[in-house]
Subunit: 428 residues, 2 copies
């Protein structure tokens, strides 16, 4: 394949009219496919249905310690659920609070509490003129939405396959006391599927923040979400690294079973130092008498232990892998060598990140939509929804079937080619 | 029975030494009973166990409209759960958002959101120097805990069997723009079991608040929690009354199935005008991708409709009624005519409210505790935990068995007598 940049204007024009014809034909197919969100597919949800059988009207509803899960109390989670979620995050159960059905509300509540009550004695952020968060990008749009919602200024930090640009992180955190946090998806990052290197994790743990209430928001959403047995990424435990570095209180870690059991009805947890958890408990004990402990019990009885979760994740991988591979195969076959796009090949997680030529992402997403394929909005992976290069597109292969994924990706590459051609022709 | 006030000093002294002997004897029994919280008993939890059978691995997990409850989405609740909770509150499903496992977090989140984001465009409360809530008291300690947690000033409003002192409420709400809310448990109030009269509800609906962001926090916790078929209280629907009075946005109503299905694993909802709900949804859509819809589906499949809930509540009443009656019988038999205490006889709810002689409540609670019976802390039913008369004690008869309740109440009346005697002797 010849790179588009090396084609003559005539060759570009010819190719364009040929691709436009293909696009018109594609539109006539009336596709209606959604690659926009990291939603588990029906097949994935189906493998968790055993969860619905572990409790019935004859079940003993007590924890191992004899606490009735149906009643009020045990505000910070049943002990066996703490153990399960601790093992998922590779931390000590004492460092875990188990909450409701998803980790997003825990993150939201953590930021909200910091606004109204500060962090372990610091000034409430709502009383400060400036509060800033560092946002490695491309990143997770719902993280950015939380900080934007609370009027927190977001500073974009570039990502590399090793993690965020740590020189920049170290400098900003050390110099600016209004920097109160950084959003991280450290394993199989959303959307690139990168896993932070050991060095990156250690540099995080060794940060010297100017602000006492600076925290790392470590969203370990894909802790056990490997696609392959033989080449899964591994991530250092940030809690013990922070402790070793003399910064035990500097991190909150979040995780859930949303993509292990059910996306709408899992269990979620936060891990942090005892001092952080004690401070959280002060608000939580006002906010709730207890999260849904019956669902915690259901999860524990179903998965039994981390090994049970790992077995389940192999079943998820078996469903997800062909979809990721279908996308990557089409990308390589159709775009390889053309010089008009780059993409990641993750070993886990829920996304593939695609970088188009500068200034093309929005047009590609719009063109896909016109022909019936919905992608995550261009820009969504950046703070304020603004990708400075208008280049990044997040591909979420999980929800459609592999056949639909191949169809959708065929259309996607067609749109990438067309928009890139138009861009190149403009330039001349 | 002769009232204690009419006894001579000698008679009081004689009685005292006799009662002290009884008390020492009671202590030797080594009681360990808890009348402190409105917790359902094991027998009550048991009648809801059918809830664990309605979903199994073969179940269709979709809503009637075909939405898969196991996946992300439907942030404000599945339609059939909206209908169920709407019927419980006697409002339109369009005015309902169904949330997680309890109503307390909805109330907390509502206050928290007002702190950081104001109310439908008003100034965020955290930017104001003064924010006040009216607190009809005796009332629910967890309400007061929320407002105290956010530094909101609480103003006590006296309660009567008709509801809060509406002259005072009208005046304060109309004159003081820093009054932003009022906590209400309008039916079978916590702890007195009073139900607001139609006139009270209409006066609430017709309030003319100085603050545009004033809201009534209508915690309809005991909407369907009648103890008797033949003499259940009825409450006017505040939403439609507010609408009729030209104040459609002035109220938030809260309810849950915590004391219908499981206290730890029910479903909860908020009802309000469309404008209020739209404003809430703006934050909720940042806070969550959706609450636990599988548990919403489970509740809908189990109860089917409001009639199913009513049938369930009759079973709860059959368990609760004898406990309430055991307490009241002992109170009447042992304290009737003595002039040292008054108590309520509710037709529903979870509590009996007891008013001791002024300055006696703390001592009574302490004396009960010393002999193994735990009551709600004296003062808990007032803002800041301070009962100005040190008189009110909340009795929660639900958790112990009727026999235990009778035992506990025997001890309670003994302590009431002893402390009252001591008080009377001090005075002379």
């Amino acid at each position: 394949m010849k790179a588009y940049q090396e084609l003559s204007r005539e060759e570009l024009m010819d190719l364009k009219s040929q691709l436009e014809e293909e696009y018109e034909e594609a539109k006539r197919k009336g596709l209606a496919l959604d690659m926009s969100r990291g939603k588990p597919s029906v097949a994935q949800l189906q493998i968790g249905m055993g969860l619905m059988d572990v409790l019935n009207s004859e079940s003993d509803m007590k924890t191992e310690g004899g606490f009735d899960t149906r009643n009020y109390g045990l505000m910070d989670g049943i002990p066996e659920a703490k153990k399960l979620m601790a093992d998922m995050m590779q931390v000590d159960p004492e460092n875990v609070i188990v909450c409701g059905n998803a980790s997003l509300p825990i993150m939201y509540d953590t930021v909200s509490r910091s606004m109204t009550h500060g962090v372990m004695g610091s000034t409430p952020w709502c009383k400060l003129d400036n509060v800033k968060f560092l946002c490695p990008a491309p990143g997770y749009d719902r993280h950015f939405a939380i900080t934007q919602h609370f009027g927190i200024e977001m500073i974009t930090v570039p990502m590399s396959p090793e993690g965020p640009d740590m020189d920049m992180v170290e400098k900003l955190v050390a110099e600016d006391a209004s920097v109160k946090g950084i959003w991280c998806v450290p394993k199989y990052s959303n959307p690139q599927g990168y896993t932070y290197s050991d060095e990156t994790v250690r540099r995080f743990a060794a940060l010297k923040p100017a602000a006492e209430d600076f925290r790392i928001y470590w969203d370990n959403a894909y802790a056990v979400h490997d696609l392959y047995d033989e080449k899964s990424d591994s991530l250092l435990d940030i809690l013990s690294e922070c402790e070793k570095a003399g910064n035990p209180d500097m991190v909150y870690e979040f995780a859930s079973t949303s993509k292990v059991s059910f996306a709408g009805a899992g269990i979620a947890a936060v891990a942090a130092s005892r001092a952080n958890l004690d401070f959280m408990r002060k608000s939580m004990t006002i906010q709730t008498i207890g999260y849904d402990k019956v669902n915690q019990l259901r999860h524990v009885r179903y998965f039994r232990d981390i090994q049970g979760i790992r077995e389940q994740m192999k079943k998820h991988a078996a469903i997800l892998r062909p979809k990721f591979e279908a996308v990557i195969q089409v990308l390589e076959q159709e775009l390889g060598g053309l010089g008009i796009g780059q993409w990641t090949k993750p070993n886990g997680g829920y996304f593939i990140s695609f970088d188009a030529m500068e200034g093309c992402a929005k047009a590609i997403v719009a063109k896909c939509k016109e022909a019936g394929v919905v992608l995550t909005g261009a820009g969504a992976t950046f703070p304020y929804g603004k990708d400075p290069k208008d280049s990044n597109i997040r591909i979420a292969p999980s929800f459609p079937t592999p056949e639909e994924m191949a169809q959708a990706t065929d259309l996607f590459v067609l749109c990438v080619k067309l928009v890139s051609l138009e861009k190149l022709l403009e330039r001349e």
